[in-house]
Every structure is written in structure tokens, then in C-alpha cells.
């Protein structure tokens, strides 16, 4: 198995706000993150494929670029993380954004290419990784 990671980045606004909570509870829970603010969200997409056959690449570069350009970019580039994924009552924590991006791109990949991990780097100090619910052994996920 060979692993390949693609990196993209989008400037987007978000605020941490749960519409089911009162304003006071949101401020209590999320602090200053309840205010609208933005990040350069850096996204790392790791895919893998067994390349023992004839095709010497894990995935055609164009396939991933197309997903980034046609699936992610229209929603995220200078976008709003709170509404980008069209999920009701979505709180755009790093955790939830990472899982939402996984869900968005997983079904877009070629059938023989496995999505291994999505990493979202929200700031130089925080990052989040999601590998799906069937957590693989660490040895099989180089980024972990």
C-alpha cells in the first residue's frame, strides 16, 4: 500500500454556535470562538492504493484536483464553514469540519482508491484528524 497526501487551503469564516443553546450558553461553551472569525483552514487528504499492478500511481492527480476544485472549493473558498456543508445545526468545530470534509469527498474518489485520513489544520496550534469510524491500526496510517 502506498499513501499519498494532497494539501489544499481555504480562507473561511466561522463561529462556534449551537442554535439549540441560548446565547449565554453558547458564549459560556465556546468563549471568544462564538464571535464570527476566520482561519486559513489547511486540509490534508491522504489516500492509498495497492500499486502492485501495472498502474504506478496511487491516484491520478487530476482526480484529486477535480475533487478539491469542484467539490471543496465552491463551498469553502472564502466561504462560511457554518453553512458550507448544508448540515442542520452544524457547529463548525475542527472536529465537525474534519468529519464533514471526509463525508463530502469519500464518495467522490475512484472506487479502488481508499480515503485513509482527512486532516484539518485550523491554526498552527490546532489540528484534527479523522480516519472514519473503523479506526485502522496506527501502523497502517502514516500520519498517525
Amino acid at each position: 500500500m502506498v499513501y499519498l497526501t494532497f494539501v489544499c487551503a481555504f480562507n473561511a469564516i466561522h463561529r462556534l454556535w449551537n442554535t439549540e443553546l441560548s446565547a449565554e450558553d453558547n458564549i459560556e461553551t465556546y468563549g471568544e470562538c462564538a464571535n464570527g472569525h476566520g482561519h486559513l483552514f489547511r486540509i490534508e487528504i491522504t489516500v492509498a492504493r495497492d500499486i502492485t499492478g501495472e498502474n504506478p500511481v496511487v491516484v491520478e492527480r487530476r482526480a484529486i484536483r477535480d475533487i478539491v476544485d469542484s467539490v471543496l472549493a465552491p463551498k469553502l473558498r472564502h466561504g462560511n464553514m457554518d453553512t458550507a456543508f448544508s448540515i442542520d445545526n452544524f457547529v463548525s468545530t475542527g472536529e465537525n469540519v474534519t468529519r464533514a470534509i471526509w463525508q463530502l469527498i469519500k464518495c467522490e474518489l475512484p472506487k479502488d482508491v481508499a480515503l485513509v485520513a482527512v486532516k484539518v489544520i485550523e491554526t498552527p496550534k490546532n489540528s484534527f484528524v479523522y480516519c472514519g469510524e473503523n479506526v485502522p491500526q496506527r501502523a497502517s496510517v502514516p500520519i498517525l
Partner: protein, 135 residues
């Protein structure tokens, strides 16, 4: 399962010196690191957990910061590790042993999240990774 990584920094002085060895043997093993010197360390701690359904968070980052500050950073930052930190009076404070120290201080310390990985960087050229012994 989400893996959340938080990065923090601390500065400390240390020397690599095993008192049970002769000065010559120490210099042979640790080279110029036997001299007291300092580093600006960067610490990355990764916790695994399920985001809370309501808050969308594995742990509030400010809570994580407070735990890490209390249990690790306040003990190491601006200290002479060999003299000021009890465990390193006996244990040579190599980057490896510091990473294990951080693990021992943080494992089980964060409610609702499992410590998964500690990475400690001494500078741009070297870092140690520790995942605990059972993983």
C-alpha cells in the same frame, strides 16, 4: 474517532549526564550535550475521542491547555531540568525521556479523551515520538 493535536512551547535548560558514569564516559556517550545548555521545546500532544454530540468538541481547547499547563508546562518551562524536576535528578533528561515524562503526566488526565501520541521537538532537527507502551 477524532484525533486532536494541540501544540505548545516551553524553554528549559538541561545537560545529558549520568552520575553513575565517569566524566570521560559521559563525554563519550553524550558529547557536547554534557554541558549545561537550553532548548526552546515544541510539544505536540494528540488526544483521541468522540466529539460531544452537543458541543461538537472532543475537549474544550482551553481545558486542554489548562491541564497541559498544570501537569507539564508549568513544571518544565524555564527550569533547569536536571535540578528543578524531581524525576530528572535520577533520569537523564534526554528528549526521549522527556517525551515519556509528558506521556506519564497526561495519560488519563483529560476526561473523555485518550492520549494517543506525544511528539516533543528539541529544535528543527530532532524530535521524539511516543505512543505509550501498549499501543
Amino acid at each position: 474517532m477524532i484525533y486532536l493535536t494541540r501544540k505548545m512551547r516551553f524553554c528549559a535548560a538541561h545537560r545529558l549526564y549520568d552520575p553513575s558514569l565517569s566524566p570521560e564516559a559521559n563525554r563519550d556517550r553524550f558529547g557536547e550535550c554534557v554541558n549545561l545548555h537550553g532548548h526552546s521545546y515544541t510539544l505536540e500532544v494528540t488526544f483521541a475521542g468522540k466529539p460531544d454530540a452537543k458541543t461538537g468538541m472532543v475537549i474544550h481547547l482551553s481545558d486542554l491547555d489548562a491541564i497541559a499547563r498544570e501537569r507539564v508546562v508549568s513544571i518544565l518551562d524555564h527550569r533547569n531540568l536536571n535540578e528543578d524536576v524531581e524525576v530528572f535528578k535520577q533520569v537523564v533528561p534526554t528528549i526521549e525521556m522527556l517525551a515519556k515524562f509528558v506521556w506519564d503526566r497526561l495519560e488519563g488526565a483529560v476526561p473523555g479523551a485518550r492520549l494517543h501520541h506525544v511528539r516533543l521537538l528539541e529544535d528543527d532537527s530532532m524530535f521524539a515520538d511516543y505512543y505509550g507502551e501498549t499501543d
